[in-house]
């Protein structure tokens, strides 16, 4: 019982630390790829401290509550994701609950931004939701293949199964699904070429256009959690999870750095180019993966 409570308290804190570290690491690695020095690794922390001291503006109670809802949703998803050995709530429904609570985050931000009365925000949100529809189709096919292969909806069982049969990413029926998931990972993380929903130059950072001060700080924390959740899900389902948090962190680091390298060299897709891409090759691969998994199962 005590162990569970410490895990419940520790899990979001660790997720936040890892997420913020990834934010700082992103800026540093992008800078180094651009042949410059870049900010120190704790720059996001400095930014957040400054943002908490700034007086922001609010457009109404929905503006505040939507953001709080979205952050709450992300924290709850973290509780359901195993991080190495730390898995507080992994018994109650598993993957389906994650799929569901994961949509609290964009919904909360959409409701909050809607009250901003700014068309940049509305355009950003409509693009975010359309992009979500884009990556959700291959993502669902991939997750269904995983669930069918291991005959479970609990992530912890998938991790344990992989410890005996090897990583899903290189195992026979699921390598197509793994490849497809890797191809859509930049879309889920919001990295280029899929960062169309928060395009600073086009729509003045989209849903975050009216966020200042503590709102922006909470949005940054939300972004950190989303980074953690997306990469942790991929590592758990396809790279075998890990028995302790350190190896898990190393695996997440490798995936994230690969994603950053893609981010550094690609320009930004338009929204219909992004959705067309997401519905073409990754969907085809995921569909084939699902069919092969079904065929192998019987």
């Amino acid at each position: 019982m005590v162990v569970k409570i410490t895990q419940i308290i520790l899990s979001p804190i660790l997720a936040l630390v890892v997420g913020v570290f990834f934010l700082g690491l992103a800026r540093k690695i992008m800078a180094r790829i651009h042949w410059r020095y870049g900010p120190p690794l704790i720059q996001p922390v400095i930014d957040m401290i400054r943002l908490f001291y700034q007086k922001s503006v609010s457009h109404g109670s929905m503006f505040d509550l939507g953001l709080i809802l979205s952050l709450a949703g992300s924290i709850v998803v973290v509780l359901f994701l195993p991080f190495g050995g730390i898995a507080p709530l992994s018994g109650s429904g598993g993957l389906l609950v994650i799929l569901y609570i994961m949509l609290l985050a964009p919904l909360g931000m959409a409701l909050s931004g809607g009250q901003g009365a700014n068309p940049n925000i509305s355009i950003g949100i409509s693009r975010k939701l359309i992009l979500g529809l884009g990556y959700e189709v291959p993502l669902l096919l991939v997750l269904l293949a995983v669930m069918t292969r291991y005959k479970t909806i609990s992530i912890m069982e998938v991790v344990i199964a992989q410890q005996s049969t090897g990583w899903s990413f290189i195992s026979f029926p699921l390598f197509l699904s793994g490849l497809s998931y890797f191809l859509i990972l930049p879309a889920i993380l919001g990295l280029r070429p899929f960062d169309v929903s928060s395009a600073p130059q086009e729509i003045s950072s989209g849903p975050m256009a009216e966020y200042g001060g503590k709102y922006l700080a909470l949005a940054t924390i939300e972004h950190a959690f989303v980074l953690f959740i997306s990469i942790a899900l991929f590592v758990n389902l396809f790279l075998g999870g890990a028995a302790n948090p350190a190896i898990f962190f190393v695996k997440m680091l490798v995936v994230f750095v690969l994603g950053l390298c893609i981010n550094a060299v690609f320009p930004r897709f338009r929204i219909e180019q992004a959705v067309k891409y997401l519905w073409k090759w990754p969907t085809l691969l995921a569909f084939l993966g699902l069919i092969i998994t079904l065929a192998v199962r019987s």
Binding site: I49, Q54, S56, E210, G213
Partner: protein, 190 residues
């Protein structure tokens, strides 16, 4: 640069955070903006100091007025400045905001920007080199340390006279006053 000194962080985190996280609103005010892209790209990397451009004034706390200010631009500058959250800092970059510069007798430019919005620091030149932006940033750090970078406090306390100057230059303003200007409370909630 005292970013590594943990004791200073623990003593005055607001000051240190304001110093090392100056996000500049990416508003190309005048001709001087040509000096800014080299500053934020790989040649003179401003991100080392924590200075990056952001898209909207709501997310920013540094405003660089680079170059001359025409009457039309003055409207946008005042609006942008008022939408920034406090604490906020402005730097006048180039000779034109100081005293009119090259356009000292033009009918269409503003000669003394300090009458309309508060400026924390000036950099003279026509145009100053990109390194001057770094001089501006480090100078701003010194001012923040000594708590002399209080342009926004001056704006709040003398809002009546600032608004009167703005109305004299621009005619009737569409936006309501940011702080109450008379005894009845008009304008936004404080």
């Amino acid at each position: 640069m005292d970013r590594n000194q943990i004791t200073k962080w623990l003593k005055a985190p607001a000051k240190m955070a304001n110093k090392y996280s100056l996000h500049a609103i990416y508003f190309c005010t005048g001709c001087g903006i040509i000096e800014v892209p080299p500053v934020i790209t790989a040649r003179w990397d401003a991100e080392r100091f924590g200075v990056i451009p952001v898209a909207t004034p709501r997310q920013a706390n540094l405003f660089l007025i680079t170059g001359y200010v025409s009457i039309k631009t003055l409207r946008a500058i005042i609006r942008t400045y008022e939408q920034m959250p406090e604490p906020k800092y402005t730097v006048g970059f180039g000779s034109c905001p100081i005293n009119g510069g090259m356009y000292w007798d033009s009918y269409n430019t503003i000669k003394h920007l300090d009458k309309y919005i508060p400026i924390d620091g000036w950099i003279a030149g026509c145009m100053p080199r990109p390194e001057a932006i770094f001089i501006a940033v480090t100078h701003l750090w010194t001012l923040i340390d000594k708590e002399m970078a209080n342009g926004y406090i001056r704006y709040r306390e003398n809002y009546k006279s600032y608004r009167r100057n703005q109305e004299l230059a621009l005619g009737k303003l569409e936006w309501p006053p940011l702080y109450p200007v008379s005894d009845e409370s008009r304008g936004n909630k404080q």
